[in-house]
Symmetry: C2
Subunit: 327 residues, 2 copies
């Protein structure tokens, strides 16, 4: 295993320290328990807290900042954070308007965030993200997995919270964005979890995993490698089959790299997906292309579509200042 | 070879189209000959044009926009662009104050940009970037290679041009930023050029290439894999040996991923490099961490240090709005 690492057990701490040192005006980090928070808390704003296993960077700590999250609780690589992290984060950033937890649907994450929610003295609510249309149940999941669409929920709810939305409004909005969002991905290679030291799964030189999960979990099927047009058609068929948008619908298209695929290919996917969406009579009017919800160095990518209305589009366009997303 | 591609010959065109479709407010693309330019040209500003082989995305087209480049001329993967591209780009963005070409020092690039410079009717000048301290001459180079430090030149000169600097001032500034900048990288894996279809070089499971070039060219030596602390010490010894900064000097630290290394590891490198720089009595006061000057999906990273004075720091901090860099 060749990685930039000193001691596998210290990897998360060294990496989070590096993140905060690179963005000192924006972020602070606490350890024991571990969370990353905005340096300045804004009083009277609903506090948005997310988290999950590490290895998906920049998700979630890279999305902490003005217009998006107030804090993120990173677990070890591909391992859920614990309730004490969420409680400490909530105590640090809660400022009188309650706490909204944004949680990807994995068994460990939902259990631990639920425990934190029950233990937290003040008002709180939870948005569960389950945008992955590949499979109904999976290795670590009852129901659909939460993947790259989590970014859309965090961005749009983040903008609403910044503009003064209440806890109930933020919760309802998050559920609506999640319902309007669907994703599916494909992997070319596995990743290697540092503590394991060897690839999570084996895959042949001409095979791809269609519908892969962001921890390398199996998807719908193994297939022979295909041209980009065919891969995109496969992913969009599943995504649009789930969302069932009417013709003429405006949408946000997110091409997400899993970490090991060059940007050149991600932009090519964006072109192919835009063209196919227009052929379906749809209008991709907002775009995001890059490595945002990764699986360490896995080669592959996912497509995410969010159906837009005026409210969602304006929440997407609202200013954001985080380590990984800013406009 | 598993890549997101339809037809290798159409890959660059499809990818550039995707880039521009994802950033329609910012960019436009022309083909025959190929260049990417700002959608709005600002009259009376020195026009900054860069370019080079593709496969290093987001460099350079991702740096076109307010506060940075006016146009970029992408060649095929790892292949120099041609003079007709540079001339067409110059004609499109020149607005009365002359053209500055920013060129990485590779034989093909320097030859073709020089030809364009001689053929261009109006005032023009060239900044040659050669920040890679790994080797003196190399596969495609006489003298040192231009690598990730090109971003610093493009950002700082871009800010100066936006603020009204003349062509002579931009040229002199670019040379000064280049002289204050040094880089070196290390690779864990090769990349695969699409048209070749197989890895550029072989490397053992426990070997690293110290001082690798951004096309996978050999560096100083093959070494056994090392902890991150030792890799950073090796790179910084070469970088600081070249720059020879006085104690207390403020600097910009850029950790650049080559495409296949997770952000978690890049932030870890940032932490280790910051700590070692402070141990050398230096002050890293600005940071940039991410995949900016890549080698397709190569695993590995480089460190770049730019010595800062007040002018450089304020040019770095100036607003920038491009696909890949914005603040």
């Amino acid at each position: 295993m060749k990685k930039f690492v000193n001691d596998v057990d210290a990897m998360l701490r060294e990496s989070l320290t590096g993140l905060v040192e690179a963005h000192p005006e924006l972020l602070r980090v606490e350890f024991e328990p571990t969370f990353v928070a905005r340096r300045q808390v804004r009083a009277g704003k609903v506090a948005l807290i997310s988290g999950g296993g590490s290895g998906h960077e920049p998700l979630h700590a890279g999305f902490v900042g003005r217009g998006m999250l107030d804090a993120a609780c990173p677990g070890q690589v591909f391992t859920s954070p614990t309730p004490d992290q969420m409680l400490a984060a909530a105590e640090a950033v809660e400022s009188g308007a309650g706490v909204l937890f944004i949680v990807k649907n994995y068994a460990g994450d939902t259990m631990n965030f639920q425990m934190a929610s029950e233990m937290l003295p003040g008002d709180n609510a939870t948005v569960l993200v389950n945008d992955d249309v590949a499979v109904e149940n999976s290795t670590h999941t009852t129901g659909r997995r939460g993947v790259a669409g989590t970014l859309m929920v965090e961005k749009m709810v983040g903008a609403a919270a910044e503009a003064g939305a209440t806890l109930a409004e933020c919760k309802a909005l998050g559920d609506r964005v999640n319902a309007a969002t669907a994703s599916m991905g494909v992997a070319f290679t596995s990743c290697t979890v540092p503590a394991a030291g060897r690839p999570t799964f084996d895959i042949g030189p001409d095979e791809i995993e269609v519908g892969v999960g962001i921890h390398g979990e199996p998807g719908r099927r193994r297939a022979a490698h295909m041209p980009a047009d065919a891969i995109v058609a496969t992913l969009l068929e599943a995504i649009l089959g789930d969302l069932r948008p009417e013709r003429g619908r405006r949408l946000l298209l997110h091409v997400n790299g899993f970490g090991g695929t060059p940007l050149m290919e991600l932009y090519l996917l964006h072109h192919v997906a835009s063209r196919q969406l227009r052929q379906h009579g749809l209008e991709p009017v907002r775009s995001l292309v890059g490595n945002y919800t990764t699986s360490l160095e896995m080669a592959g990518a996912s497509l995410t579509v969010t159906l837009l209305d005026d409210e969602f589009a304006s929440l997407w366009d609202a200013p954001v200042q985080t380590a990984a997303l800013r406009w």
